[in-house]
């Protein structure tokens, strides 16, 4: 089993506040890893560090043995990191299929001249991209929404579309930021299945932030717990559930 993502001693300081200090994680091939912690623990900051929104003050991030230091968000997307957002960020005035097809941009090679002269290359690549997008939508039961404007979709479908859009970039590592936020138990159940399906069908590693413990404990193989920017526990779901430090972070300490 090879390591896909490796973070070593990651640290970022905003002003005087160390939002993340000494964060270490290893995500293996085809593994689902959970990142949990109380509000403000620095989970989303970790995602922003991984995707290059923030530059770490110190520490190393490697993706498949490649150092990502200094790379922009765009370059990291090309390297194979895709993400979804905590507050949905769809291209809401574009159609669902265009949302997905936009992710293929880097795999398509026709130039502006090709497009303007409508050369055969344009038609061929567009047709292929449309087919691939429809296939992806089909896998997630979103086919019927293909021509709908993304902003008009129901909440659950918008979340799903965001995952599809991320998947369409053909990533090695998928970062899901609270995918179950705002979902009811039935939808969460459905989402758990979907995430498992993604991992099996596309052979990618998934790192997810989630507050819904049934989801985290249900599908994650490894869990990392953050509190105040520090890793306080790391292990399998069973180990985490019993860990006194984690219980203290979430529930506080008994006074006696």
């Amino acid at each position: 089993m090879s390591t896909v993502l490796k973070c070593e001693h990651l640290r970022v300081v905003f002003g005087g506040l160390a939002a993340v200090s000494d964060f270490n994680i290893e995500v293996n091939d085809n593994q689902i890893v959970g990142l949990i912690g109380p509000n403000g623990a620095g989970k989303t900051t970790v995602f922003n560090l991984l995707t290059g929104v923030y530059a770490p003050t110190s520490g190393v991030i490697t993706l498949c043995d490649k150092d990502l230091a200094g790379m922009s968000t765009i370059a990291r997307s090309h390297e194979g990191i895709a993400r979804t957002f905590q507050n949905i960020r769809l291209f809401k005035d574009m159609s669902v299929i265009d949302n997905v097809m936009n992710s293929f941009n880097n795999n398509m090679t026709y130039s502006i001249a090709h497009a303007m002269l409508r050369l055969p290359k344009y038609w061929k690549e567009e047709e292929k991209a449309r087919e691939r997008a429809m296939n992806l939508l089909h896998v997630f039961n979103m086919e019927r929404y293909a021509k709908e404007t993304a902003g008009n979709l129901p909440y659950g479908s918008q979340r799903r579309l965001e995952i599809i859009r991320a998947l369409a970039t053909n990533p090695k590592l998928l970062l899901l930021d609270e995918p179950a936020a705002g979902m009811n138990p039935a939808e969460t159940e459905n989402l758990m299945e979907t995430i498992g399906k993604i991992r099996d069908a596309y052979h990618i590693s998934i790192l997810l932030i989630e507050h819904d413990m049934s989801l985290v404990m249900g599908i994650c193989e490894q869990i990392t717990v953050l509190n105040f920017g520090e890793v306080i526990a790391q292990g399998t779901p069973e180990q985490i559930q019993k860990d006194p430090v984690v219980i203290e972070a979430y529930l506080g300490k008994r006074r006696d």
């Binding site: 765009i74 997307s77 291209f91 005035d93 293929f104 497009a115 344009y122 567009e126 970039t169």
Partner: protein, 350 residues
């Protein structure tokens, strides 16, 4: 029920036929009305120029979601570039001799030069300006537009060559913009915008408008596409400027004041940012209406501002919103509706 679908060649054929028809109608209006035809021709050509200006601004404003206020600057650059080139060619003599066909290559070259020069200026201003957003971008492009105008007003020669003639204006430009030239160029510009937007590049531009952070996260090179859209828009504005120079025959820097940029912006906003049909409609209406209401043309700006205020209250997204018209899709929709009604009737009978 099988859904009716138009094949792509059929769509293109329909659109081409309708475009040709529109030209025939316009030409008939001009030729059938005798003396007044010249007057109508002038209005139609101005409408065409404004249609290019509005739709090209719509690329940056509506599709890319940025707010530039220097569109008149690019128009000025294109106008002067095209005019200076045309003056250097024997086009004027040819036009006088009635040899219109021989001028066509010069016109094509002039339009290409205008587009290129305006595009280069677009690139020069776009690269630093597009690092900014919103109001900052508006201010910097506004400043750029004014710089162009001021430079044109104050410089009349470069290295001893008289080029722009400063504030006294560039006169005796060959009047090459006929109805046909205007129509073909306008149709071509609209087509180019359409095919640009309906490609991976167009999708990337739209995704930047909707959410820049998300666009970056799926690997869209935002800087590249922002600059591309900006340069594309500037080039088309340059083409419009070239047509303008060839129609009006003389250029004065004062034509390309800040108000001109605002006029174009008003067309885009009224039509609906992100709708080409909206931009076209409002460009036609806002150009033709003041001519129709000649007697009240002093109140044009009042009407403008009133229309804007009312629009922002009742239709804040503009006339058409972001709706983009497609002849093919509309025909499909109508046919499908008729078919489903027929089938309903059949079912009732049975």
């Amino acid at each position: 029920m099988k859904r009716f679908k138009l094949k792509t060649p059929a769509r293109y054929a329909i659109n081409t036929t309708l475009t040709v028809l529109l030209y025939v109608v316009l030409a008939l209006i001009v030729s059938a009305t005798g003396l007044r035809g010249e007057y109508y021709k002038g209005i139609i050509i101005t409408v065409g120029i404004n249609v290019i200006l509005a739709t090209s601004l719509n690329v940056v404003c509506g599709y890319l979601g940025q707010l530039p206020l220097g569109h008149a600057g690019f128009m000025a650059v294109g106008a002067y570039a095209g005019a200076i080139f045309m003056k250097a060619t024997p086009a004027a003599a040819l036009l006088k001799a009635g040899n219109n066909a021989a001028v066509i290559p010069y016109i094509i070259i002039a339009i290409i030069i205008s587009a290129l020069v305006a595009g280069i200026f677009g690139l020069l201003i776009g690269i630093p300006a597009l690092r900014l957003k919103g109001d900052y971008l508006a201010i910097i492009t506004l400043g750029f537009g004014e710089i162009i105008r001021v430079v044109l007003t104050n410089i009349d020669s470069v290295l001893g060559f008289k080029f722009t003639y400063g504030a006294s204006g560039l006169a005796r430009i060959p009047k090459f913009t006929s109805l046909a030239v205007m129509f073909v160029v306008t149709a071509l510009c609209l087509f180019l915008i359409h095919v640009f937007m309906k490609s991976r590049h167009g999708r990337a531009v739209l995704s930047i408008r909707d959410n820049e952070i998300a666009a970056e996260s799926v690997g869209i090179n935002t800087t590249f596409y922002k600059t591309t859209a900006f340069v594309f828009s500037a080039m088309l504005a340059g083409v419009a400027g070239c047509l303008y120079a060839g129609y009006i025959g003389s250029l004065y820097p004062s034509t390309f004041k800040f108000m001109k940029s605002i006029e174009i912006l008003v067309m885009v906003v009224l039509g609906g940012m992100g709708s080409m049909l909206g931009s076209v409609i409002s460009a036609v209406v806002l150009t033709a209406l003041p001519e129709m209401l000649r007697a009240f043309s002093d109140y044009r700006m009042v009407v403008y501002s009133l229309a804007l205020v009312l629009m922002m209250i009742f239709r804040p997204k503009g006339l058409m919103g972001t709706y983009d018209f497609s002849m093919g899709n509309s025909i499909e929709k109508i046919v499908n509706r008729v078919r489903s009604k027929k089938e309903e009737k059949k079912e009732v009978k049975e």
